[in-house]
Symmetry: C2
Subunit: 337 residues, 2 copies
């Protein structure tokens, strides 16, 4: 048991805040990414004209609701958890698609649709033959998530608050973020965050460091991201710095599994094998879903990490960043141990 | 060689007319279809309120461009053919998705977007565990395809005109249909049509019979559909009647393959085996694509049918009604024989 959580005291397990996006996925050759001059397998922020330019060059695509924290929150619901999401879409066709899809998974989603302004945000995802995804995000309406959308009662009623690092990009959302962390701590809840992307960490390095040191209890990151947060250190050095700053963390290392620590223990968790790697979109998001589901139920760190590996393995074995398999039975049997 | 076609004389191989729709697909249990009281594995026309009701009950979905004839025309392009599509979408987000996807496959698509009126049409597709699809179509903007959208030059420049039986539902489109057939024959082109759906044939039985007898040179249908066209007959009886009415036909019979005939010959074509049946959406559409690609290149009926079987097998081995595999090499090697 981790002693940080008393799940009996909360109405919800996890409430997440993030950029609400609809993913537009297509299979593309590496040459397109090279000719566009975008960093492969990373997330690049784009404006509307650039989004139109890239879309024009993409092949026939599939639209599917996305958004990093939204994927995580849907994952928590798929594992049987009670979860809520805060993120902004516009009152347009893709906004209604987002709203339908997230509610259809059982997630509570009550943020008012933006009646005007930029259209619902989208992420143009180029999936290359090696199953990697190169993401181009037009934030659209999601930049208008502000402190007024963060209801203190919604934050207070969940065991864990989960924040997406990408939210450091839109300035209004960054403020919503700090407000949410304050509400959570005032209610005695756990504040968790994912670093999201190494380029995003580099863009807002000071703000990230300050936030991690002063507000985060549980951090999610991959290896590249913690090196972006603590430059010029080896893995052990970065982890040592991280342990000075946060109480809990889970660092994912692709096929090497993950390294997780708490105040009293630290351990490596194996990755879960997959038959065929189809599309890595959502791997980190779903790892966080599994981990958070365990953590918000007071599970040991090893069980949390194992749930993370399982959920990640499910999502990389098919196209799209949200789970397809029914994960509830799996989660129930693991949590009963 | 079929002598009906002189491909050298045409700028395009196939021009198709149909209801332009965006598919909204989700995996659902049989119980949902029963509780909705809709006929399984058929296409039901629905109005906007009913579409909202069904959508609300559907799980998280994927949006992907569809429309029966559009899928066929995209299939022709995927096989290396030169194809054009006529169908109506609105100037809204899903209309732009449709426009992007069809153009991205190399299809010529120049019909003006509707500036107002109902939103872009959609087809809510419930995929059950047996891989069957139950379709609920809200025609939306596609009902506004009218005779003014049928440019005589676009019809005259393609070897084969391909018409979707579903177009008998919207009255304006039915008129566009007759106009298109007239232009095609005036230019010495072949008029082909698919019956689309047995319920659709029953809804407009007299109009279908009249159109097949007087305007169609090449008919596509499955067994249920020709029985709907010629009731109270066995398969041989229905085929005999069909031979009196049209010069060429291809009747698909699921795993039994297809039966094809021309003025001088008739033969059975085997189905192409698939490793795993995932989703039958688009099987008939892609059979027509393969057949039309062969036919518009003057191929023998056996080759046409074989191309149809191959294209159908590709599309039922994955989710969605448009081809994923690159079919050009396959088609080229078959046509070279």
């Amino acid at each position: 048991m981790n002693t940080k959580i008393d799940p009996a005291k909360a109405e919800f397990d996890v409430v997440g805040i993030g950029n609400a996006l609809v993913d537009v996925l297509s299979h593309e050759p590496d040459e397109l990414i090279e000719s566009l001059g975008i960093p492969k397998a990373a997330m690049t922020l784009i404006d509307e004209p650039r989004s139109e330019e890239i879309y024009r060059l993409m092949g026939p695509a599939v639209e599917i609701s996305g958004g990093s924290a939204a994927n995580t929150i849907v994952g928590v619901a798929a594992l049987g958890g009670r979860s809520e999401y805060l993120g902004k879409v516009k009152d347009d066709q893709l906004g209604h698609v987002f709203l339908h899809d997230i509610r259809a998974t059982g997630v509570c989603y009550e943020v008012p649709l933006a009646p005007e302004g930029p259209s619902t945000g989208c992420c143009l995802i180029l999936v290359t033959p090696d199953a990697h995804r190169t993401m181009n995000t037009y934030l659209g309406a999601s930049v208008h998530l502000g402190p007024e959308d963060v209801d203190p009662n919604r934050i207070a009623r969940a065991s864990v608050l989960y924040l997406e690092g990408y939210l450091f990009d839109p300035p209004e959302a960054q403020e919503a973020f700090r407000v949410a962390a304050r509400y959570a701590h005032e209610a005695g809840r756990v504040v968790s965050m994912t670093l999201s992307d190494s380029f995003c960490v580099e863009r807002h390095h000071e703000a990230f460091l300050d936030f991690v040191e002063n507000h985060v209890d549980l951090l999610f990151a991959n290896e590249t991201e913690i090196h972006a947060l603590y430059p010029s250190t080896d893995f052990e050095g970065a982890v040592a710095k991280l342990r000075e700053n946060v109480e809990y963390a889970a660092v994912t290392r692709s096929e090497k599994g993950s390294f997780v620590f708490g105040p009293d223990d630290a351990l490596n968790v194996a990755a879960h094998e997959v038959d065929e790697l189809i599309d890595t979109t959502g791997a980190g998001d779903l790892y966080a879903a599994g981990f958070l589901h365990g953590f918000s139920h007071g599970a040991d760190l090893g069980v949390c990490g194992h749930l993370g590996s399982l959920a990640a393995a499910e999502v990389i074995s098919h196209i799209g960043a949200r789970p397809e398999a029914d994960l509830v039975d799996l989660a129930t049997s693991l949590l009963a141990k």
